[in-house]
């Protein structure tokens, strides 16, 4: 249970950094007045439906369009002047995939766009799409990343000669570990998943001839990046493009991509002059758009008898799908594995080889936690195997290897710079809360219903808001620099904040207002946060990588500090004091004998300039401030998750009996919102652990194309955890905040799998594959029974 202290603040309650301020955005959502892309209403709006490939890999022999639809159906041949989507990485050896916005020559995954059909309604557009005949010559499909590197495999991109986007290798003295007394090796895999925000993608495109500007409404986490990509593909100046991202119905990474659909609809608006709309339906979302997180590990951990790590040796493969998606590229996920696998653990030796493999599946995108969920799953399962081998409690093995608080800041073996924190402290609290000895005693007693009890723990770190120095190395189309925010006082003393990141549920309209309130003292009710519009906000790479609170919060803080300085100078003029004699307190410029409020300062500046002397600072009450943390290698939030489960070995059902999270996210701007992020992340982590899987058959056909097959956790699958906070400020950021958006989703699969394996240990069964479905659990139990019977 989280802290349920009264959260309705009165007028004197703190509303700045650290306050549980209720969200400014809630009321419109609660009344159904949010405005998502599908809610945009423009005159003459037409709907678009796409003809998509039903086959994973095929040569396009012909596309037959009925004569009566020739002027409303468009194929690649019609799309003049459009360049394919290219998401290149600068890492050596990266192979480039060009993703045509409508298929050319071949189709490379089920759901790839082949033609677009325009009509008065989506239903009619789908009718037209159904009338378009595709003559496809099927080719052998690359359906399994583990077979994709075999000689003789079919090739997704023939001219590559193989199916590997990128291979990376990182090594520190692995030979030193090979003589370790404990050596455990496992094959570990995680399912392909769909991010499944409740709102799918959506695009509305229109052309404004007065402004000579394409306006694209799109449900994007990164409108400025979409503009970059669109400008490249369409070959037009950025000034001719305005991207508006209205309310976003959840993102989690799914809305951090330049879509071929965005390019297609832009082309229609520009070349046909139509106002057009495409709304991703759930089948498109699940089967066609972009999936995530299909990892395979062959991993060996070396340790001494006392459980101390001697080294890790790993080969990791990620199924990157058919194309490199913009802007994160096809290789970010796999290559990241090599750098983040060791995490907060100390070890003298390490080797990791990674492969980003192309298959005939839709592309992948970084999903909440990116590679960390898989990495955490692999490493934490192996640490439990080491514990079993060493005859130690799993918690003890971790305590012996975690970085100690006195060693902070800490550069780990892959040179990740851990800014702060007490990892063993978090773990100890989690172990105490879950009460491991009580679980062991209960295991001894046995359960009256025949279920098996187990407990598991996992630890992760979440590198957040990592910036230029990290991303420059990837060489991908997007490198974050300084984040900017504009703070503008209105003549009535209100404040407008303009930021280039976007909120898709994180409550940035509230938390950024809290930051501004903290510094400027403006009533949060009088602060408007403007997001999601390239015409109204400073450039930003957008919301991803748990960066918005650190980066945009820092930028808002910086802009407000500069605004304070300006308002103080104007206030000093009004108080007829020297600026040095005036201080800023609670929204007022205060002198020794009097003060003047922000509203009066603003009113005077805008409406009564005659009241100010001529030598007043002329720069006014609108400031764009820029921000980067002192060090941009990222903030490191972390947590220990501990869970107790009951496993039914006959039905394979897993019940989460108790779930404990001890989390350190640095200084929390709004603890209520942080709790919400962690609880929501936990739900997705439980989905990853137990429910979510997009399987493919040998022809690379996706097999879970409805929510009846792709199971999202519901209210009965997600228990309320016991949530405890630690607060180690980041030494590098404004207020000491750290990014916390992803962490909740990272640790649960590992903790739950460890608990299930703990429960099944007496039966000799072990699961190394997520999700831990009932069928997998029963199959493992039966296999163990068979193995143990003579």
């Amino acid at each position: 249970m989280t802290d349920t202290a009264p959260t309705v603040p009165d007028d004197r309650a703190p509303r700045g950094v650290g306050a549980r301020l209720l969200r400014k955005e809630d009321d419109r959502f609660l009344r159904g007045r949010g405005q998502y892309v599908a809610d945009i209403r423009l005159p003459g709006l037409k709907d678009v439906a796409f003809v998509r490939s039903p086959i994973a890999h095929a040569r396009i022999k012909a596309i037959h369009v009925p004569a009566e639809y020739r002027d409303v159906v468009f194929t690649a041949d019609d799309l003049t002047g459009i360049k394919p989507i290219r998401a290149v990485s600068g890492l050596p050896g990266f192979k480039i995939s060009e993703q045509p916005v409508l298929a050319v020559g071949k189709v490379r995954h089920v759901g790839e766009l082949v033609a677009m059909c325009v009509a008065r309604s989506r239903a009619e557009a789908e009718d037209i799409a159904a009338s378009v005949e595709l003559d496809l010559e099927p080719l052998p499909a690359v359906h399994d990343m583990r077979l994709a590197r075999d000689p003789g495999s079919a090739l997704v991109h023939e001219h590559w000669g193989d199916n590997v986007f990128l291979e990376t290798n990182f090594e520190v003295d692995i030979s030193a570990a090979l003589d370790a007394p404990i050596k455990v090796t496992r094959e570990i895999s995680t399912a392909r998943q769909c991010m499944a925000p409740l709102e799918g993608r959506g695009v509305v495109a229109t052309f404004d001839h007065r402004l000579d500007q394409l306006t694209l409404y799109t449900g994007s986490q990164m409108p400025h990046i979409v503009r970059n990509g669109l400008s490249d593909c369409l070959g037009i100046e950025q000034g001719c493009i305005r991207i508006i991202a209205p309310d976003i119905g959840g993102g989690f990474g799914h809305k951090g991509i330049l879509l071929p659909e965005e390019v297609c609809l832009s082309w229609l608006a520009m070349h046909k002059g139509w106002t057009v709309r495409w709304l991703e339906d759930r089948r498109e979302h699940l089967s066609a758009s972009a999936n995530c997180r299909e990892h395979a590990y062959n991993i060996t951990v070396y340790a001494d008898r006392d459980g101390r790590l001697r080294g890790i040796d790993c080969v990791a493969t990620v199924d990157s799908g058919a194309y490199s998606s913009y802007p994160f590229s096809a290789c970010l996920e796999a290559a990241q594995i090599a750098s983040i696998l060791p995490g907060p653990y100390r070890m003298p030796a390490y080797r990791c080889r990674t492969y980003s493999v192309a298959t005939n599946k839709c592309p992948i995108l970084p999903y909440r936690g990116v590679a960390r969920t898989g990495v955490c799953f692999a490493l934490e399962l192996l640490l439990d195997a080491v514990a079993a081998e060493a005859g130690l409690e799993p918690g003890e093995v971790r305590l012996r290897n975690l970085v100690q608080p006195q060693d902070m800041p800490f550069d780990n073996i892959t040179n990740k710079h851990f800014d702060s924190g007490d990892y063993p402290g978090a773990l100890r609290r989690a172990l105490t809360a879950i009460d491991v000895p009580a679980v062991r005693a209960r295991q001894q007693r046995g359960e009256p219903d025949g279920r098996l009890i187990g407990t598991g723990v996992s630890i992760y770190c979440e590198q957040a808001a990592h910036g230029t120095s990290v991303y420059a190395g990837w060489g991908i189309p997007m490198v974050p620099g300084h984040e900017q925010a504009t703070a503008r006082l209105t003549p009535d003393g209100g404040l407008e904040l303009r930021v280039g990141v976007h909120s898709h549920g994180q409550g940035l309209e509230t938390t950024l207002a809290q930051v501004a309130h903290e510094i400027l003292g403006v009533d949060p009710d009088k602060i408007r946060v403007i997001l999601g519009d390239t015409a109204m906000t400073p450039y930003s790479t957008g919301t991803w990588g748990s960066r918005s609170m650190v980066m945009a919060g820092g930028a808002v803080g910086t802009a407000c500090e500069q605004l304070v300085a300006r308002a103080t100078r104007i206030g000093a003029k009004l108080l007829q004091l020297a600026p040095e004699a005036v201080t800023w307190r609670e929204g007022r410029a205060c002198g020794p004998n009097g003060s003047v409020g922000l509203a009066e300062i603003a009113h005077t500046w805008y409406r009564r300039p005659q009241d100010l002397p001529n030598d007043v600072d002329p720069s006014g009450l609108e400031v764009t401030g820029g921000y980067k943390p002192v060090r941009d290698s990222g903030t490191f939030s972390y947590a220990a998750h501990a869970v107790t489960v009951a496993v039914d070995p006959d039905l394979g059902e897993v019940e989460l009996l108790d779930y404990v999270i001890v989390e350190d996210g640095g200084v929390l701007v709004n603890p209520m919102i942080v709790d919400g992020q962690i609880l929501g992340g936990l739900a997705q982590g439980i989905g990853t652990a137990l429910y979510e899987e997009m399987p493919f058959d040998e022809a690379a056909q996706p097999l879970a194309t409805t929510l009846a097959d792709y199971l999202l956790p519901g209210p009965t699958e997600v228990p309320e955890p016991r949530l405890f906070h630690m607060e180690t400020p980041s030494p590098y950021t404004m207020f000491g905040v750290k990014g916390i958006g992803e962490g909740g989703a990272i640790a649960p699969p590992a903790a739950i799998a460890n608990a299930v394996n703990d429960a099944l240990r007496p039966l000799g069964a072990e699961l190394m594959q997520s999700p831990l479905s009932p069928h997998r659990i029963v199959a493992a139990v039966l296999a163990a029974k068979q193995a143990s019977s003579p």
Binding site: E126, D281, D650, E653, T716, E717
Partner: protein, 276 residues
């Protein structure tokens, strides 16, 4: 994800519905609450030229007593049964099963007749009503006939419904006060269609057991004698012959051992409940 075009008729009576059905010569689909057909239409997996909507036909939204049996109109909803808007002749079995079907918003429109007519072997009513010995009233131009649910269901999505016929009611025999019912299903989450399902009816008065294994890829397995208990009539939980149940599942085409294990375990739980 929008349905293909269809024509729509909303007859006022069963007679009118049958007339429309006959006129359509097999090209029409009957829709009651539309909670199974609706998704299939939206996904364009089904593209009938004509939908005949029977949900508003008053005579299908009634109940009658027939001796000690209850005759439930085909368009009575799961929520009607859940909420007790009709008498219960099953000592709580029907409301309990209804409560576990899909979600409340679906149960408010989904009907018992539609569910049976759809004949999904994983549907709760298919297994439960088979175990309860219910029968289906089918009405066609030639008149009415009754079929036991076990005979009506002929396979996955297959029924004994003849062209031009309509499911008009379900006849539920009342359970004696000594009858015992056990039910279990394996679902990963509420509302999900079951992966395994077992229903057990024990009627000491009639010296009769009926055991149904549902949620397999075909017609449910029905065992009407005590063979699953080695002929025993007492201590059934202890006597349950798991190996025989496993063989029956194998014969029914459930080749995966883990799936069979889950089915047998679910059935064991239904038996345990019925004999508790």
């Amino acid at each position: 994800m929008k349905a293909a075009s269809f024509n729509y008729e909303r007859p006022k009576s069963v007679r009118d519905a049958l007339g429309l059905l006959a006129k359509a010569e097999g090209e029409a689909r009957i829709m009651a609450g539309g909670q199974s057909l609706g998704p299939m239409l939206n996904l364009r997996l089904v593209q009938p030229p004509l939908i005949i909507d029977i949900a508003s036909i008053a005579e299908l939204r009634t109940i009658e007593h027939d001796g000690d049996a209850l005759v439930i109109g085909a368009c009575v909803t799961h929520a009607d049964i859940e909420d007790g808007r009709l008498p219960d002749v099953t000592h709580g079995v029907l409301p309990r099963i209804a409560r576990g079907i899909a979600y409340r918003a679906v149960r408010n429109r989904g009907t018992i007749g539609g569910s049976l007519g759809h004949a999904d072997p994983a549907a709760d009513w298919v297994t439960t009503l088979t175990a309860l010995g219910a029968s289906v009233q089918l009405t066609g131009a030639a008149g009415q006939r009754d079929l036991a649910v076990a005979e009506f269901i002929q396979g996955a999505l297959q029924t004994a419904l003849r062209p031009g016929e309509l499911v008009t009611a379900i006849r539920i025999p009342s359970l004696s006060s000594t009858a015992r019912f056990g039910y279990a299903k394996a679902c990963r989450k509420p509302g999900e269609f079951a992966h395994a399902m077992g229903a057990v009816l024990i009627e000491p008065d009639k010296v009769r057991n009926r055991i149904v294994i549902g949620a397999i890829d075909t017609t449910p397995i029905v065992v009407n004698d005590s063979s699953l208990f080695g002929g025993a009539t007492t201590h059934l939980t202890q006597q349950f012959d798991r190996a025989l149940a496993d063989r029956l599942l194998m014969q029914a085409g459930v080749t995966d051992p883990a799936a069979r294990h889950i089915h047998v375990s679910v059935l064991a739980r239904a038996i345990a409940e019925a004999t508790a």
